[in-house]
Amino acid sequence: MPENTSYMVAAYVITAVILVGYAVILYRRTLKP
């Protein structure tokens, strides 16, 4: 396994956290506007 795989994993995890996190925040805000 190439040694820079951990950087790729970190970027993919952070991207998912930011996008899913924002989707959840928007959902909660729209429930109680």
Binding site: M8, T15, I18, Y22, A23, Y27, P33
Partner: protein
């Protein structure tokens, strides 16, 4: 409200498709020979960057039309696009340094592309702070429109900075006058990822627009 439901569904579809992008990028796209696995960050970094820049252009265009037409829908759209643009700009500024560290040997350098992207991020933050600071709805919309147009003027400098200045950041390999310099399979994965980021942008903006509309309708009118 129908608009909010539509936005939620589009966002949900976008998030499911994002998982498909991960599977395609990691399992069905070849590993680049020199950069190794770190190059796969490209499939998230570039679509996020296109929408970070594209969202600010749309803020500026909507702001120009708002100053002439005074249509509140344009102001509402600009606000929604700015907030979603900030999310995508945050993605660019997190995935970029993570990619830069193994390839360049540094998380950050004050070169033109990186610095101007940070400025774009601060422009988004300033735009949203301004909207939060001004209470009068008419003034808020007008001041924000002027700042939105300034933000739009920054975008060409962000995009062309790698051509205008000597930078560590590579030259454009997809959005350029000649054909994209990327192998077919990688280009297809990138196109799919861009499509999914577009679906997410649309879903987020529709929800954010709907939220502003609901809040305005709930506010007592003077």
């Amino acid at each position: 409200m129908k608009l909010l439901k539509t936005g939620r569904w589009i966002t949900a579809v976008g998030l499911v498709l994002l998982a498909a992008v991960y599977v395609r990028a990691l399992a069905f796209t070849p590993v680049e020979r020199t950069q190794g696995m770190a190059q796969k960050i490209f499939y998230l970094h570039l679509p996020a960057a296109i929408w970070a820049e594209g969202a600010m252009i749309l803020v500026g265009v909507a702001s120009i039309f708002f100053l002439f037409l005074k249509d509140p829908r344009l102001d509402r759209f600009a606000e929604a696009s700015a907030e979603v643009g900030l999310v995508f700009c945050t993605l660019v500024l997190t995935t970029g340094p993570i990619w830069g560290k193994p390839i360049w040997g540094t998380w950050w350098t004050w070169d033109a592309r990186l610095t101007l992207t940070l400025l774009l991020f601060l422009m988004y933050v300033g735009y949203l702070l301004l909207r939060g600071a001004v209470t009068d709805p008419g003034l808020k919309a007008r001041y924000a429109a002027v700042l939105g147009i300034c933000g739009m003027c920054l975008v060409p400098f962000v995009h062309l900075s790698v051509i205008m200045f000597r930078t560590l950041h590579p030259q454009p390999i997809v959005i350029k006058p000649s054909a994209p310099s990327l192998p077919g399979e990688m280009l297809e994965t990138l196109a799919f990822s861009f499509l999914v980021f577009t679906v997410l942008w649309v879903g987020f903006v529709i929800q954010r627009y709907g939220l502003s509309l609901v809040r305005e309708q709930a506010e007592p009118h003077a």
